[in-house]
Subunit: 432 residues, 2 copies
């Protein structure tokens, strides 16, 4: 590539780092801004602050080669970059509001720096519908904002596969007001990815809707299969046979159709809220998004009902919750259903012990201020019930006989059907 | 096949006739019961009472060969049949109640006829959850009910492809209390279809849930894409680009993802109601099913709002509705959204003219007592707005210039985006 463009990535989360590492691996000079000093200090030594095996490896390699650099935000890098990729976390957790101030700050900054040639700002963060128009209008108020093209190109990567999905996306959505605005970014990606990736060229509002809509659809798909699962448990019928029977219709499919404890993570619940956000610039109400959230909450209430009908009053009961992350074998607890269940149980006075093997050394989960036990045994000792909160691989290897000696009652709720039931029942365990 | 079994099919609708024609085409002796004398008289001459090109051809062929026969219900055929396939319409339209009397009559009849060997009754009709248990208990009360195996094997065929889907199903669900009960029917199908079809062997309740669940999922998928479409229209953005961007995620898919005027037909709306029916034997409430119905109704209300914001008060307005069937190029108006829209418009005092080219010679649609115009011109003459109610192929060929001379206002609502907009706009048409 002649006169390879320089890339600036704002935000060193999953999306920012995966994008940065991919571009750097393809030979571009990439600089990453990260505001959080602790995160930054860890990153410059080559250590990621989350679990992403492939990304970690590529990241360390491009860092050592010096093609990827990191720092706190500072003006110089803005001036040298043809592409500014914004990948900051877009919402305040719990309040479910866009971090408008952070975005506005970026817009003001980029728009006030003089530049010889046009530059492209790419919003990879998830937006409420219409947000890019707000961002554009802030750019336009700045002295050099008119030399900036704005592109909305939402990221769809799956956690645990952050690098893989960035390098081989199912599609690239490029939302720009004019074909000219999209052209530079599209050309860059074509050079890096080749023709194999389908491009979807749309306007910014369409790009925002594609991102939110895809996540609402996935959330609803999972909500549906959880309703099926709840019905099956209530009726004592086989949910796996039922979802296979349903999923064999190719218009439905069997993939991404596994019930557990609902859906969580940094995207699905958030986007079900954002699509109906009052900050969004539209009056439309997506009932499907609302229903997905309602079902997701119902899943937890049903789990608690099952405990209650077995144990009676839950107040003061010791209960062990195994796993607190939002999906198996990651260390991310953002919007985890296990955490949501923990909070509901605590509110009912349960004496809860949580063990999360993917967060060794962590003593508390900040969200909800939940204490973590440091060992499995510590968590389950004296428990009246054990709940599998996430389907971590290692839970499959737990020894029912050993654990049986530690608990008060051999009662277990395996929402993910990962335990070999007959072996556990042989040791006197009763499945809820 | 040595000593080929004889098959009795109860009910000559889409499902019954497609099953009968398929079995007969494969060389079995098949007899069909049909209670409705008019339908029967037409069928014995080789004429189907609905539009299914492939089925019609196979049906006439096996009828001529004499391998398929039809009559009103009579005892003799019961005694000679090893398989009794029940394919009657399972619910009363509008009341959304199972036709329990019809099913009970069949159960009493079958159970009271003496037989030398075990027979298998196959319920292909859609049931409320738990209905097969009721059916079984009626069988058990009869003198020979204990010699009957009951199998729930719901049919998933698509209208317009009734024969094709019966001959090449995506899966065959066999719901039986014991493997032995399922064995005879499974063996029969294996001989006819070979190993290529995936079998899902479950219990009757699971089979009922697979059927209802699959349709609820499909209904919800369509509801979702209609919400997306409504938002896109309100914001003036391109729904086809958006659904492509969403559907390129292989967990979502682009198939069966086309917005129009909501979902209709004899299955989807019905099954969204049946799954939550108070007749069902469970206390579970499927919110996803309820939401799909709510969105489906909202689609019509939004369509009316659009008309109203263009035309003002609708009372006394002449409006043309083109198409009344539930999907393109079929002649079935059961639970058609076009009909539902027509009823809503009439309730608002609209002077409605409906043209349905797939029902030539039909003067009224019984549901709602809707009069039909006999020509397109008759329907649109003097209209203040034209609504495309279903995406019939022939509507694509309408001449915007000719029609423009007949209407009062050149206003059209093409929910299906089947018209070449620029050609119509050139003739002065305004799209809602």
């Amino acid at each position: 590539m002649t006169s390879a463009p320089r890339i600036l990535v704002v935000g060193a989360g999953f999306v920012g780092l995966a994008t940065a590492a991919f571009f750097a691996q393809k030979g571009l000079r990439v600089h990453v801004f990260e505001k959080n000093r602790l995160t930054l200090e860890s990153l410059v030594t080559g250590r990621l602050h989350f679990l992403e095996p492939t990304l970690a490896e590529v990241f360390r390699s491009v860092l050592h080669k010096g093609v990827l650099t990191l720092s706190e935000p500072r003006p110089a890098e803005y001036q040298q970059s043809q592409f500014v990729i914004v990948a900051i976390d877009s919402v305040e957790r719990n309040a479910w509001k866009m971090r408008s101030d952070s975005f506005a700050q970026i817009a003001r900054f980029v728009g006030s720096v003089p530049a010889r040639r046009r530059r492209t700002v790419v919003l990879k963060s998830t937006n409420v519908l219409g947000f890019s128009e707000t961002f554009r209008s802030i750019l336009d108020e700045q002295p050099h904002g008119d030399r900036i093209d704005l592109v909305v190109s939402p990221e769809f990567l799956r956690e645990g596969l952050a690098y893989e999905d960035t390098a081989n996306p199912w599609r690239v959505v490029i939302g720009a007001d004019t074909p000219a605005a999209a052209a530079a970014y599209r050309r860059l990606l074509l050079e890096l990815c080749g023709q194999k990736v389908p491009f979807v060229q749309v306007n910014p509002r369409e790009a925002e809707l594609i991102k939110l809509g895809a996540n609402v659809y996935l959330a609803h798909r999972l909500a549906f299969v959880h309703e099926i699962a709840d019905y099956c448990r209530a009726e004592g019928i086989d949910v796996d046979a039922v979802r296979r029977g349903i999923g064999l219709d190719p218009r439905i499919g069997e993939r991404y159709f596994e019930p557990g404890l609902g859906f969580g993570g940094s995207c699905l619940p958030k986007d079900c809220r954002l699509i109906n956000s009052i900050e969004g610039q539209g009056e439309f109400f997506f009932r499907t998004a609302d229903t997905a959230l309602a079902v997701n909450d119902q899943v937890l209430e049903t789990a608690i009902d099952r405990l209650r009908s077995k144990l009676g009053n839950l107040k003061g009961r010791r209960i062990a919750l195994l796993g607190a992350t939002f999906k198996p074998d990651v260390d991310d607890t953002r919007d985890s259903q296990a955490v949501a269940l923990a909070l509901k149980l605590k509110r009912r006075g349960v004496n809860l012990r949580i063990w999360e093997p993917l967060l060794p050394g962590v003593q508390r989960i900040v969200a909800g201020d939940l204490a973590l036990a440091s060992t499995l045994n510590e968590a389950i000792e004296g428990a009246s019930a054990v709940i599998i909160g996430v389907a971590h691989s290692r839970f499959r290897r737990m020894k029912p006989g050993e654990l049986a000696r530690l608990v008060r009652h051999r009662v277990i709720d395996d929402h993910f059907r990962i335990l070999k039931r007959s072996s556990w029942e042989k040791q006197g365990w009763e499945f809820l």
